[in-house]
């Protein structure tokens, strides 16, 4: 019992800051219960204020982006409103009627003052109303986005999870056996793969596995002959269509190679730390040191990168979705730019930004769980 108590303290030491240490020391003197209670309450409030700050920051960014997008739609010379109006007039519609149509399409009343229009735009956007699509006549942008979003989330989410899992475990292994030939080969392969753009890998996969040998489907998210439902056949079809895009995502730049290199560097740094030598000296099992001590501490900086790369990953998905005709947000973003469907384009853009910002907040919260020090700062 006693020795276990000591071990727990040693394990906690390097991860706790001075403030918490003194609390722990006081705890030894005073009655343990009350101190623990105070500490927990303080931790709760500091973590609430941390989360609060992150959320306020996220909302600020979203607000800034929506404001900028308003200016792009409405104010800039060559703005969406101008271009749609010009096209309508070219089709032989009178300027007044064109104005009315532009207002209807964008969901903005152009006769209002600019401030009122801006306010309307903010209210509409925050309610998820992005106007009406020009190309898909009669469909609201939000209904198209709602259909596209799950596919992007599926692709980016599963791609990120798989790359992260493969990459970090390979990185940990390579750092552990870093003098071996296997580790060297692993590093070279990861570094090379991390330089190859994912659309290049996508094209190669498309060429070999979907067209010259038609093993996998070349486009789409599921077999169009099936109705979307929770049947085994439908889920199988979804997974079958996911294989190639997912593989391109995992193998290309920013995929597993990136996580492998980051994790390897981080682990190599941690391996030199004193508490690792201490845990070896204490005779802990190799496996426990590797996971609970080295792995957990080495993962911290890697998770920071996770937050930074979420946006990059959404960007990378744009290429993959278009190469494989995978109808997610990136697919509609590009097709709407090609067809000058401005409401749909801005809707895709705003939604991608909101998704990225929210994903950042989630990663930040994850970070608090992983690293208790952050709460005190």
């Amino acid at each position: 019992m006693r020795s276990r108590h000591w071990r727990e303290h040693v394990q906690i030491l390097p991860r706790k800051s001075k403030g918490q240490l003194s609390v722990a020391a006081a705890g030894a003197a005073a009655t343990l219960d009350s101190v623990d209670h105070i500490r927990r309450r303080r931790e709760f409030f500091t973590s609430v204020s941390y989360v609060g700050r992150r959320l306020v920051g996220a909302i600020l960014v979203i607000y800034a982006v929506i404001t900028v997008s308003f200016f792009m739609v409405r104010l800039m010379p060559g703005s969406a409103a101008d271009i749609i109006r010009g096209e309508l007039i070219q089709q032989g519609i009178s300027p007044e009627a064109a104005d009315a149509q532009v207002s209807a399409i964008l969901g903005i009343d152009q006769s209002d003052s600019l401030l009122a229009q801006y306010f309307d735009y903010l209210v509409n956007t925050s309610q998820g109303d992005f106007g009406t699509s020009i190309v898909y006549t009669g469909r609201s942008v939000s209904s198209i986005l709602l259909e596209a979003l799950p596919w992007t989330v599926l692709l980016v989410g599963s791609g990120l999870l798989i790359s992260f899992a493969i990459g970090t475990s390979l990185g940990l292994t390579a750092a552990y056996t870093r003098r071996s030939r296997k580790a060297g080969a692993l590093t070279v392969v990861s570094a090379v793969m991390n330089t190859i753009p994912n659309y290049v890998i996508g094209l190669v996969l498309l060429y070999f596995l979907a067209t010259t040998h038609q093993i996998f489907p070349a486009s789409g998210t599921y077999n169009p002959n099936l109705t979307p439902q929770l049947s085994l056949e439908f889920i199988g079809s979804v997974l079958w269509h996911l294989v190639l895009p997912l593989t391109a995502f995992v193998l290309g730049a920013g995929g597993f190679g990136h996580w492998m290199l980051t994790m390897k560097a981080s682990t190599t740094g941690v391996l030199g730390d004193d508490y690792i030598s201490a845990s070896v000296a204490r005779g802990l099992r190799h496996r426990r040191i590797a996971t609970a001590y080295v792995g957990r501490n080495a993962l911290l900086p890697v998770v920071t990168y996770l937050a930074l790369s979420v946006g990059y990953l959404f960007g990378g998905a744009v290429f993959i979705e278009n190469i494989f005709g995978y109808q997610g947000l990136g697919y509609f973003l590009v097709s709407s730019v090609r067809q000058r469907d401005y409401p749909l384009m801005m809707g895709c853009f705003n939604l991608i930004i909101i998704a990225v910002v929210l994903a950042n907040v989630v990663v930040d919260l994850l970070y608090v769980r992983l690293d208790p020090r952050i709460k005190v700062k």
Binding site: Y199, Y207, G316, V337, V356
Partner: protein
Amino acid sequence: MIAAVGTGIAALRRYPGAAFGVVVLSVFTATALFADRFFPWNPMIHPDRTLQGPSWEHILGTDYAGRDIFHSLVHGTRSVMEIGALTAVVSTVIAICVGMISGFARGKVDIVLMRITDIFLTIPSLPLIIVLTAYVQSSGVFAAVAILSVTFWAGLARAIRAQMLTLTERDFVEAARVLGLSRRHIIFREMLPNLVPFIAIGFIGFFTNAIFAAVGLSLLGLLPLDSSNWGQMLNIAINGVGALYSTDTVAYLVAPIICIVLIQLAAVLCTRWLEDIFNPRIRAR
């Protein structure tokens, strides 16, 4: 200067991969600069020799319009390298200005600049670039460079600011201040040289990202560019000639891919080389 060249060469000897990177990048740069003189670009259509396989006359075969694929590839190098290099220069300059002003001025200027930087860091650059291409009317290298640079600079600006903040605490800067040297001297003579490693590595990063984005966007047919480049070749390979569906014209698909991979790989190797030169601790290992 001579000492720096000496360190560079010594690092090359220790690290042969870097030599490969430097050679490849030099070859591409030379191709971009001089190739048009030796292989004059000829957009003429030759209906009599479309979609030929590789031969002695046309090393990589011909495309759907009877043009020599090797010539198209060489010609495309120019616009790809131009966009990469110019974007790298512009983004680096923006990053240096924002980072150094923010790190030196501190206070309100710093807070405002960093808020803006944070917003740019959060917005994923590719979707922003794609949306911007819808609004840019002019086509040409400069429009493409402007669009790419606007979205790239933020990361390096933050790194430079952070570095400036630690540098102001260092003894030699303190000493310069006590000696009464001008602010200009302190910023440009004392601090800037210490930022060179960050700037150089950031520069190469911008270069590779610009090529990655420019080729990818031309592949999707989005970037407003007149001149042909590798991304357009890939675009045509997929959508136009159907290189995807026949094995004869596979060179039209594979050749640009190999060039892209080579250039990205070479840039990363050069970064490692620079890190090796700049960081004496790595050198000692």
